[in-house]
Amino acid sequence: MTLNLRGSAAILKNELTRFFRTAFGSIVSPVLTTSLYFIVFGAAIGGRIQEIDGVSYGAFIVPGLLMLTLLSESTSNASFGIYMPKFTGAIYELLSAPVGVAETLIGFVGAAALKSLIIAAIILVTALFFVDYTIAHPLFALGYVVLVAAAFSLFGFVLGLWADGFERLQIVPMLILTPLTFLGGTFYSIDMLAEPWRTVAQLNPIFYLINGLRWTFTGTSDVPIGVAFGMTLAFVVICIAIIAYIFRTGWRLRE
């Protein structure tokens, strides 16, 4: 029998319904947070910071903040998406249904990525109220954003599978993702860093994600764009490999 795409569609629809049921909270909080960043860093402090590579500081941080939102929204959407049925026991239905790894991923990861893309779009619109920015390579930007949303929704899915409590769900984004995003150049170019921090910063995978996205916006980047794209793709492949392994062994899902 072939792939059960109706099953994927059912999961996707179910997840989106959950999102729109709580649409107010899901949308307001990232928009508010991002607006605060723009007000504090873009308008208040940014005015005193000189241009970076010919780009105003306000416009420089737009891709960084977009990435910050994409990473945290994708991760938390997907991790909660799969963790909730584990928590309530509703996972029994997924396990008993004719859906496999592929269908489950399309449903959950697709929904999580879609949700964070919706929020990303809203954030970009919000940013227009605070700074003037242009997108140098719009198609690349779109492709990049979709890829990153997919990659981190996959990552979130793995996290949700692995987590056995709400604490664990939140600890990884809080202790790993957010610091790495901040240190990955959301608010600065690594040219501003002195050694050894400049080298250390390049060990951070999120540094490449942010710079890849920044290139699509401003046409400038701290690293070659090919390297940034390559790192992002590698991340997606690793996540899919881990998930395939988890499903094959039934780890954490099937007793």
Binding site: M1, N4, R6, G7, A9, A10, I11, K13, N14, T17, R18, R21, M84, P85, T88, G89, A90, Y92, E93, L94, L95, S96, A97, P98, V99, G100, G250, R254, E255
Partner: protein, 318 residues
């Protein structure tokens, strides 16, 4: 003990499950289910009922054995097999904030079927849930929630339905109602496997009963045959004068002296009426032998007592 069934809808062979650093929940289970029957799996807490169901439904990874359904091997053709199986688990578990009808539609989609509002309405109506279709599930009573679980399991018209303790926590009236629902499903051709602690439930509903304990099936047979094989008649004769030993005239009966020789107890029969006949003959033999008695009580054991007796027998044998 396991009789081979021609063309079974479900065939389990040597099924084993040992949980990681846990107990052996299933120690080699063989079971064949007939198409169209209601099969009751009866066993105490921790017997392995849920594990057995979980192994067929994809919730548990068995550590050994084979399962095939509808003539297909479950391990190989899992997509095809699972699309025809429905499961109502023991615990209530769903998105409590979602609406009844949406959850039922979701289940149908998950199993790969196109939406069919007419069928969804039919399922909801058959479970008296139609009026509640737009309620969030959390607002429903416990019994109604359980019906939502059943509606979800029926949304894809399964040919084989598992009900893990369908009437746990349901009041007497609702339980009878649930039995009617299950009966109606069987009449439509659905094969049903249910687990229960309520003997009356198995007695009322099942065509066949399987008794499971400590991960082993002790007995599988037609409900009536189980009664015939193991039904016990117990009769107590209160004697006018105590006896020191059993007189030869009645020694061939399964009788013992109790309470210092004041009571003669018969335990025997097979549930077909043999017990009552023998007690009547015994009574005449007592009169002929000149043994007077002042009282006689007889009782037929229920499935529950049979079941407890079976467990004891197994423990003695072990």
């Amino acid at each position: 003990m396991v009789r081979d069934i021609a063309d079974p809808i479900l065939e389990i062979r040597g099924l084993q499950k040992t949980y990681p650093n846990g107990p052996t929940a299933l120690g080699g289970v063989d079971l064949s289910i007939r198409k169209g029957e209601i099969f009751a799996l009866l066993g105490p807490n921790g017997a392995g009922k849920t594990t057995l169901i979980g192994s067929v439904c994809g919730l548990v990874n068995p550590t050994g054995g084979t399962i095939s359904a509808f003539g297909h091997d479950l391990a190989r053709d899992w997509r095809r097999v699972r699309s025809r199986i429905g499961l109502v688990p023991q615990e209530l578990s769903f998105d409590m904030f979602d609406k009844v009808i949406r959850q039922v539609r979701y289940s149908r989609g998950l199993f790969g079927l196109p939406n069919d509002e007419a069928r969804i309405e039919e399922v909801l109506r058959s479970l008296s849930l139609w009026d509640k279709r737009d309620e969030p599930i959390r607002k429903l009573s416990g019994g109604m929630k359980r019906r939502v679980m059943i509606a979800k399991a029926l949304a894809h018209d399964p040919d084989l339905l598992f009900l893990d303790e369908p009437t746990a926590g349901v009041d007497v009236e609702l339980r009878r109602d649930m039995w009617d629902q299950i009966g109606a499903l069987r009449d439509r051709g659905t094969t049903i496997i249910l687990t229960t602690h309520y003997i009356e439930e198995a007695e009322e509903m099942a065509d066949r009963v399987g008794v499971i304990n400590k991960g082993r099936i002790l007995l599988v047979d037609d409900k009536a045959a189980i009664m015939a094989k193991l039904g016990r008649t117990e009769a107590h004769f209160t004697l006018a004068a105590p006896l020191d030993s059993l007189p030869d005239a009645i020694a061939h009966y399964p009788v013992v002296l109790e309470q210092g020789g004041f009571r003669l107890t018969y335990r025997g029969g097979d549930g077909t009426g043999k017990g009552k006949r023998e007690v009547a003959e015994l009574a005449q033999d007592l009169v002929r032998a000149g043994i007077a008695y002042t009282g006689l009580e007889t009782a037929e054991s229920t499935l529950e007592e049979i079941f407890v007796g079976l467990l004891n027998e197994q423990e003695k044998a072990a």
